[in-house]
Symmetry: C2
Subunit: 340 residues, 2 copies
DNA sequence: TATCTTTGCGCAAACGATTGAGCTAACCAA
DNA sequence: TTGGTTAGCTCAATCGTTTGCGCAAAGATA
């Protein structure tokens, strides 16, 4: 069936496109279109299988009911979950989502933003890939925007993210309570706010327990490779660590690989705790204790905040940190006194 | 900076919007716009930070350079990978992607299709959620469409999918070669073509080896719950199976859980092989041998086929099956003769 | 009968781009 | 002087909607 337009309905019913448009937009009362006319029009709409042309509506109304979502890597289950939740939540408000991948690159991010602006999206949700807010603050004057997962300090851009500090604090406390005194933390990229907050939580907690001197922080990438290398190095150094705090689940995998190669058992020889959730972590041997980010809530809140900005031009709060959950499993054990 | 339009450039330079449009579309030569005028125009474009309004272009050109992607569940890493690859590949052709979630529901699928048609996407890639091709064949007359991962038999709709038959054949052969004679296969929804082809490959291979009588096929959903329940039942029945073929990685997790509860070790007590890939499968104890689908290739081919249909109106081939890889790990062991 | 009110709807511009069909001025040839 | 060519542009319609303004006819009021 070829696509029909308002003009087709007009020809078929004899009414003007104006009248038809009004009936279809629920303004029949307001403009006193008789019930009889309304029925004729609605019938023709049905018969001709009319469907509004969203592109034309968007042009006229200056609104596309579309939001752009920028993520650094859709392959990553974490961001896939965000995308999924954002798409689902936006749908509830009758918004469609355009997902673009920025490949952790500021250049790709800028390009993606140009695309979204050109396509007149009503607003943008982004997990920033650059470590400089200048592009985004400029953008913010043109379009509503909400940062998600990552954000910038000393910057008014509204964001929603996990309270990474608190998560790291909880994890570290758990290890300390189990008697661990020599805890290695393998972080991600040092310039990333996510890493920074987690490391800070870890450091502060150790300091509070009077353990700061023996804290070890290293690594520079959220990757399996990094977790592997850093663990290997630590084991070779024999610096007597009894617990490892992996700041992401990719890092965790590297840690596990290295421990296995050295014939070490979790948690008997080494306690392990990780950031991020994944169903598979319950199927490892042993299941891994972890800090789970509230991805669903973050996404829902971000969409709400964005749509508030779009529709009412208001910004409720500058930034919002949501609390992570701690999932207790079996990869952390009390430190026995006969251990070094 | 407020958005500027062709008309703004026109006011600023004194040229008509026609001329400006032509310069920007690389038709300056063709319409004999002097080099001097071109430079003035390009300068104004730069100064006013002009960006074409894609919505207006789409309306006029009857093309949105957008493709719609329908997946049954974006949360599922398998579909997330598809989405990622489709978005990446479409980007190469300068297309943007709208991803909609159909929640495995024919109703949501129809609704999503209405949305996409209303928004004038140039074409659609879908992992069908309904088990009836009627809506999609009707759609096919209106818009280019490509099915992906799932498809319909006796139906001309073009598709790209894994050769599930071959994958199951390879897996079953591997088990038979290891000496297994009593192999349980836990399938997904029986009406799904994916499940059907895999079960067929499994059945045919067993038959060829003269083992058909002892084949066990059960289950009805691609879920962890299903894998768990069916394995429990089988173990309770004590029907002497020595190997399990899980038709998806969600099912696999259920299988593992059940085996653990019964204190059985993989592969000493039970050999296990699965469909689908996931990095975590290498970190299980032991790493799981599996049939890995060529997700990347499938997505790339689907995008190519779709864009061919959009731009040249041609359909290369009706359907295309790509070969899966078999990833050999340690979850399959030779059947020892002292086993039942 | 004249004026006012209400009912029921249509005209035409606008959103921002593209495009077929002209149009003017300059130049050249005869 | 006339006619033709060419360079270098512009006009106005079009894509499919929405909307401010307006308008005719019927009924009510005086």
């Amino acid at each position: 069936m070829k696509k029909s337009t308002l003009s087709d309905i007009s020809k078929s019913t004899g009414f003007s496109v104006t009248t038809i448009s009004r009936v279809l937009n629920g303004k029949a009362e307001q403009f006193r279109i008789s019930r009889e006319s309304q029925n004729k029009i609605l019938e023709a709409v049905r018969v001709l299988n009319y469907r509004p042309n969203f592109v034309a509506q968007s042009l006229r109304n200056m609104s596309t009911r579309t939001i752009g979502l920028l993520v650094p890597c859709i392959d990553n289950p974490f961001f896939a979950n965000i995308a999924s939740a954002v798409i689902g939540e936006a749908h509830k408000y009758d918004y469609t989502v355009m997902v673009l991948d920025t490949h952790e690159s500021a250049k790709d991010e800028n390009e993606a933003i140009e695309t979204l602006l050109s396509r007149n999206v009503d607003g943008i949700i982004t997990v920033p890939s650059s470590d400089n807010p200048s592009t985004l603050t400029a953008l913010d004057r043109e379009k509503p925007i909400i940062l998600i997962d990552r954000y910038f300090e000393n910057c008014h851009l509204p964001y929603v993210a996990t309270d990474n500090y608190q998560g790291a604090l909880d994890a570290t406390e758990l290890l300390i309570k189990a008697g661990h005194k020599n805890i290695m933390c393998i972080q991600g990229p040092p310039q990333s706010i996510t890493s920074q907050r987690r490391v800070q939580g870890y450091r502060d907690t150790l300091a509070k327990a009077g353990l700061s001197d023996r804290a070890i922080v290293c690594g520079n990438e959220f990757s399996t490779q990094n977790g592997y290398v850093e663990t290997k190095l630590a084991l070779t150094r024999k610096d007597g660590i009894s617990a490892i705090f992996a700041l992401s689940n990719t890092i965790l995998l590297g840690v596990i690989k290295a421990l296995r190669e050295h014939g070490l058992t979790i948690p008997a020889d080494m306690s392990v705790i990780s950031f991020d959730d994944n169903i598979y972590l319950d199927f490892l041997n042993p299941p891994v204790t972890r800090i789970s980010q509230p991805i669903e809530s973050i996404s829902i809140v971000a969409v709400k905040m964005l749509i508030d900005r779009i529709q009412r031009g208001i910004t409720q709060s500058e930034g919002l940190l949501l609390q992570p959950d701690i999932l207790l499993r079996e990869s952390v054990a009390p430190l026995l006194s006969n251990k070094p």
